[in-house]
Amino acid sequence: MVIDTRRCVGCMDCVVACKTENSVPEGFCRDWITETVHGEFPTVQLEIRSERCNHCANPPCVDCCPTGASHVHERGGVVLVTPEKCIGCKACLAACPYDARFIHPDGYASKCTFCIHRVEQGLLPACVSVCPTHCMHFGDADDPLSDVSRLLASRPNYTLLPEAGTKPGVYYLT
């Protein structure tokens, strides 16, 4: 996933769309907005990001899971949780440097799924499909011809906490 921080206005449509699409319980969120202001007046910069699970290529949350509930989708690229296998030990919550997971009121670990149920039907994730500024792009970064690969090749970008060694799969354009 590629998110253009120059377009994002922090309207939180993505947050609402996710909550609606995935019946995220009240008081929890699978995606959220952060705002970073830096610099001194008059050269102040504001950056708004829509954040979620980074679907890391080297996911510590999967490595530490004792039951195999946390796993990578068979086609790769998406990290998922099987609620029926989860014991609620919270090791994955402690292992995620982005604090992207939470314990669902029903007891299992939950987080963003990249709306895999929609993607498997050829649809875009709910957050991407509702964004009014089209700041989010979803696709296969390993395919050099994809929309996301072209954006990454043409614009400066970064991932969150690369130093944590998780190889995040969500990129931010600057």
């Binding site: 959220w32 970073t36 202001v37 490595d63 014991i87 919270k90 604090d99 944590a164 931010y172």
Partner: protein, 347 residues
């Protein structure tokens, strides 16, 4: 200047991570204590004459206490799970990269190893029980008639004890998202802390079981209530100085390992340095310095040193201090570890 605002407010994660409460530190403490009891029991079983029949604090009382303590620890762990009905899923798979998966299988091995160690000399330690259940005598006779079996039980206890002790540390040490925990030193640290608390527990039991004229009458009465039912012979107290000596060695190694953990963090990334400062001069510093280092390690080291030099009599004070220090060490590391974090504010 940078100002960072996060609009997420997930319970247990915001404003600060708090996914593990009292259950996990208690479990880690009891796991380490049981690991120490296993190693001491295994070593003791191997170095004494295999056929000697004695009422042994290390080989019988320790493992029996270990069985109870481990069960309490597992109960604490179970209480922490938020999806308890699925707990059996732990035993449908083995996940080699997950310390928790290793731990759940190691815990299964701990019970038979501790039980075998306890049964080897049980008839001497608790004659009343052996009289009621003659099978205990038969099992003990069977084991003691086979010196190789005795050595095997000893070795199994040592190996499984080491694995259990290290696992309790690596459970946290492999979680790179929390810089304070992210050190392999936590493995040996929790192992040696477990050994020191185990030696302290056994030393304390020996001190309590020794007849003492100066002890208040009500304390003697309570103790006799506890021991009379078992018709136990007095425990062999000659091992008390050895246990105090061993405890001091373990405490010294533990202190050195805490030093190594902090040196590792202070010479690492900014996130690791900030994590070390949580303990050194941050919000957890008072508890860390006073209860872990001062009262939990230095004070019992000093008291046991005086005991060993026959300056003061053996009391349960150092034992209690070491046990409390070990528990507080787990609490402070679990709490401060959750407070330590990488920061996504800047890129």
């Amino acid at each position: 200047m940078t100002e960072f605002t996060n609009f997420r407010h997930n319970p247990g994660l915001d404003p600060a991570v708090h996914v593990w409460g009292w259950e996990i530190p208690v479990y880690l403490f009891l796991g380490g204590l049981v690991a120490g009891l296993m190693i001491i029991a295994g070593v003791r079983l191997m170095i004494m004459r295999p056929t000697a029949r004695q009422a042994l604090v290390c080989c019988t009382i320790g493992p029996l206490a270990g069985l109870a303590l481990l069960s309490s620890g597992m109960l604490a762990l179970f209480l922490d799970l938020t999806n308890k009905v699925n707990v059996w899923r732990l035993y449908l798979t083995f996940e080699p990269t997950s310390p928790m998966s290793w731990g759940s299988w190691i815990l299964l091995l701990v019970y038979p190893a501790l039980l075998a160690n306890a049964l080897t000399h049980l008839p001497e330690a608790i004659p009343a029980l052996a009289k009621r259940v003659p099978a205990f005598v038969k099992i003990s006779d069977y084991i003691l008639a086979r010196p190789r079996f005795v050595v095997g039980i000893g070795l199994a206890n040592i190996a499984i004890g080491v694995a259990l002790g290290i696992y309790t540390g690596l459970l946290l040490g492999t979680l790179g998202a929390r810089p304070l925990w992210n050190s392999a030193v936590l493995g040996p640290l929790f192992l040696f802390s477990g050994l020191s608390t185990a030696a302290a527990l056994l030393h304390g039991i020996l001190v309590l079981s020794t007849p003492d004229n100066e002890r208040p009458e009500f304390a003697d009465f309570l103790l006799s209530m506890l021991t009379r039912w078992s018709e136990a012979k007095p425990l062999d107290i000659r091992i008390a100085p050895t246990l105090a000596q061993a405890d001091n060695s373990f405490l010294t190694i533990e202190l050195a390992l805490i030093g190594l953990l902090l040196i590792g963090h202070l010479t690492s990334t900014a996130a690791h340095q900030a994590a070390a400062h949580l303990l050194l001069n941050g919000p957890y510093a008072a508890v860390f310095w006073v209860f872990v280092i001062g009262l939990g390690i230095l004070m019992p080291l000093f008291l046991q040193h005086l005991e060993l030099r026959h300056r003061i009599r053996h009391t349960i004070a150092p034992s209690l201090l070491v046990l409390c220090g070990g528990l507080v060490l787990r609490f402070v590391l679990v709490a401060a570890g959750q407070a330590s974090h990488w920061t996504t504010a800047l890129h």
